[in-house]
């Protein structure tokens, strides 16, 4: 979106629109970032992506509280195959581009509702992408499913995820073969 278009649109909102400070105006013209690789600078963005995938809810913190961004950077760097690292990084660039063209904001600066809307859209793309690959001998992961699987594994193996979102018993001491389960009871963490 061009600055002039933006100002035009603002004027359509009426009233005292020209009181917006200049600094904020310039930040609204967002240019996507192109990364060659993943660095710790991406942690805030990955925290925000993780938090959108597993948000904080009434009772329990979300993925951001478990330092999911740092976990993702570590896991991609240490444990991913080079080709999956590339898919992850390309995906992050893609997502950034999406944010720039569609929202003219970085993902970080988008409203929570916009973040969810965007990632739900990407999830749909990933679902279609997955369907198309069914039956292939070697399937390629969609970048969003890499974000998502890391968010899930990192969250539920974190202390918060294991002990608050699920139920962690480090030393059960006994085995009870059959106990009642009611809706709302948390599953075991391990």
């Amino acid at each position: 979106m061009k600055r002039n278009d933006f100002l035009k649109r603002l004027s359509l909102l009426g009233s005292g629109t020209f009181l917006i400070p200049a600094g904020l105006l310039s930040s609204c013209t967002y240019t996507a970032k192109i990364r060659a690789g993943l660095t710790t600078k991406d942690i805030p963005l990955l925290d925000a992506i993780g938090e959108t995938i597993i948000p904080s809810t009434g009772g329990t913190p979300g993925a951001k509280a478990t330092n999911i961004g740092a976990y993702m950077v570590l896991m991609v760097t240490d444990c991913f195959k080079p080709e999956d690292q590339q898919i992850f990084v390309d995906g992050l660039n893609d997502l950034d581009q999406h944010c720039a063209t569609k929202y003219n904001h970085s993902f970080l600066d988008m409203k929570a509702t916009q973040k969810l809307e965007l990632l739900e859209q990407v999830q749909l793309e990933a679902n279609v992408f997955g369907k198309e690959q069914e039956g292939n001998e070697k399937s390629i992961p969609h970048y969003f499913n890499l974000f998502k699987s890391l968010t899930i594994s990192g969250y539920f193996t974190s202390e918060i995820g294991a002990t608050q979102a699920r139920n962690y018993l480090p030393v059960p001491g006994k085995f009870e073969a059959c106990i009642p389960y009611q809706e709302g009871d948390r599953p075991w963490a391990t």
Partner: protein, 572 residues
């Protein structure tokens, strides 16, 4: 234990100082038993272990770690998995257990056909990481070769080993139920662990719909009560990290401390045995040549009897490498069978399904075992035309968090889904007997040696038509049972494990009745060198379909008893 470890940099001492009553090569599940039995019977015993010391409790660095305390939450870095493609295929290899596995580069081998060799070089060997399932064998197994004319007949029958099963079960501590099934005879059990409600349901349905499908709780070397100052099991199911409660049987927690208690026990880690020394005059072994794995220094140790318990592949490698003018083709290899008849189980057929009921039922605690369906093929009235012998199933019912929906949603919907229980699932994983084929073999590499100057192994083995046909039946019978029990979303579990990866490698120095066709006699004595006993997986004449470690333990205790009696009678 460490008080008795020899310093690694001593120079060659006199023969007398290096002489013991008995030498045990290897400290894993069978070596631990040999050490305990020989020490308890009063023999000064030297245990030679090629790996490092692992002391019970002290050397289990990950045993009490929470999932979030692992840097990669249990996963292994790409660099490590890339450098270790073989052990990386092992289910038990993870960030929590990697220190107990030999890295691929540390002891390479040649593969004429794909073979995954999973090794644990440390005091305790693989008894630290084993899966602890301990069903007895029966005469269905001991008689099969003889009846069918396959391989050679076992020189023993169930009655010969039954008292020794009891003997080792009583010490090890085996939990289990007396199920009265002849193909897995009942033993000396601690109280059984319980089946969950889905498993109980499946058991009942199968009992109604079939007359030969029996689902039982697997007999398992986890202690359901306190047993000989060990345990009980705390239901953490983190066994393969080493147990801080001594809740399962390992050499480290059980047999080696018992051996040490006698005052007759000496263990020397970092000691790989290069070869067995044969004495032409006495026609017996006089001792062993040992290489210190750190200094590469060579030393000799002497004893009246030698127990070879280095694990199947390494025991036979040692025998093949022990040549003399009497045994130019390997120690005890008059028959030409040494290195042949290598077996592993075939685990490549499995199925699973979902169950819609019992949504209001769950379980608490992590039971470190599963349920077991003993062999029903070619047993009783069943006759198969496409394969001989049969298979058992490792089975289990469980309930995990989340459903399929979690794959396609995010946000609150995803979080709700993954913090709620999904449906019950049940799986049946076939464990098939492998026939002994002469052409499935290991030989010494013609030109390559390891870091200690010992030839590398060349392994050349594959599953054949009988094993592959059995896999088809594991799958079709499994689907049939799940359908009969009203399971939904039934699917085949994709598996393509290489020979070796089921870590039940056995055979290659088989027991038999005739020195012309076997390497060991009915007491695990090497034909032609009667003071050498091989009692690990190498001695097996057939593979049955039960997990084999309990049988190695019983054979070892039996052979140790025989050896000491013979020694007393001055026959050795």
């Amino acid at each position: 234990m460490s008080s008795r470890i020899h310093s690694i940099n001593i120079n060659t001492k006199g023969i007398k100082e290096n002489t013991y009553d008995a030498i045990v090569i290897g400290s894993g599940i069978s070596g631990g038993w040999a050490a305990k039995e020989l020490c308890e019977k009063g023999l000064k015993t030297l245990v030679l272990e090629r790996g490092r010391m692992v002391e019970h409790l002290k050397d289990y660095p990950t045993a009490n770690m929470h999932p979030w305390e692992f840097q990669h939450r249990g996963a292994l870095p790409q660099k490590i998995t890339e450098e270790n493609p073989i052990i990386n295929r092992c289910y038990a290899y993870s960030e929590a257990t990697e220190h107990f596995f030999v890295k691929d580069k540390e002891h390479p081998y040649e593969q004429t056909k794909p073979f995954d060799w999973i090794k644990g070089y440390q005091v305790g060997g693989k008894s630290l990481m084993w899966a602890r399932w301990t069903q007895r064998w029966s005469d269905l197994d001991f008689e099969a070769n003889g009846k069918e004319g396959i391989g050679v007949d076992w020189p023993i029958r169930y009655k010969d080993i039954a008292p020794w099963y009891s003997y080792v079960e009583k010490f090890a501590g085996i939990s289990g139920n007396k199920d009265g099934l002849p193909q897995i005879p009942d033993g000396e059990f601690l109280p059984p662990m319980e089946m969950n409600c889905l498993e109980k349901h499946v058991k009942q349905v199968l009992a109604k719909k079939y007359n030969d499908r029996h689902l039982v709780i697997s007999r398992t070397a986890n202690l359901t009560t306190r047993h000989k100052d060990r345990g009980p099991c705390q239901y953490r199911s983190l066994c393969n990290r080493g147990c801080p409660f001594g809740g399962y049987f390992s050499s480290n927690s059980a047999t080696l401390p018992a051996a040490e208690k006698t005052g007759n026990y000496t263990i020397r880690p970092f000691s790989v045995v290069h070869s067995i020394i044969y004495d032409e005059k006495t026609q017996k072994a006089s001792g062993v040549r040992v290489i210190d794995t750190n200094t590469k220094e060579s030393r000799e140790y002497f004893a009246k009897i030698i127990f070879v318990n280095g694990s199947t592949m390494n025991s036979t490698l040692l025998l093949l490498n022990s040549t003399s003018s009497r045994f130019p083709n390997g120690f005890g290899n008059d028959s030409g069978e040494l290195g042949h008849n290598l077996m592993d189980h075939n685990y490549n057929g499995g199925v699973r399904g979902e169950f819609e009921d019992f949504t209001d039922k769950y379980y608490s605690g992590r039971r470190p075992t599963g349920t077991y369906m003993p062999r029903f093929r070619n047993f009783g009235k069943d006759k198969q035309t496409s394969f001989k012998r049969g298979y058992a199933y490792a089975c289990g019912g469980s309930r995990n968090a989340g459903t399929e929906l979690s794959k396609t949603v995010i946000g609150n919907d995803l979080k709700d889904n993954l913090t709620t229980l999904g449906p019950w699932k049940f799986s049946l994983n076939g464990m098939g007997e492998c026939l002994p084929y002469h052409e499935n073999k290991m030989t010494l590499s013609k030109d390559k040696t390891d870091d200690w100057g010992i030839p590398l192994l060349n392994i050349d083995a594959e599953f054949k038509e009988n094993e592959l046909n059995m896999v088809d039946d594991m799958i079709s019978s499994g689907i049939d049972m799940l359908e009969q029990a009203n399971f939904k979303n039934i699917e085949v579990i994709p598996k393509n494990r290489n020979f070796g990866l089921n870590i039940h490698e056995m055979g290659t120095a088989r027991m038999g009745k005739d020195p012309k066709t076997s390497v060991l006699n009915g007491h695990n004595q090497v034909w032609g060198a009667k003071n050498v006993f091989v009692t690990d997986g190498a001695c097996m004449t057939s593979s049955a379909c039960q997990n084999p470690s309990l049988t190695y333990m019983a054979l070892t205790a039996r052979a140790a008893d025989y050896a000491v009696n013979e020694l007393k009678k001055r026959n050795l």
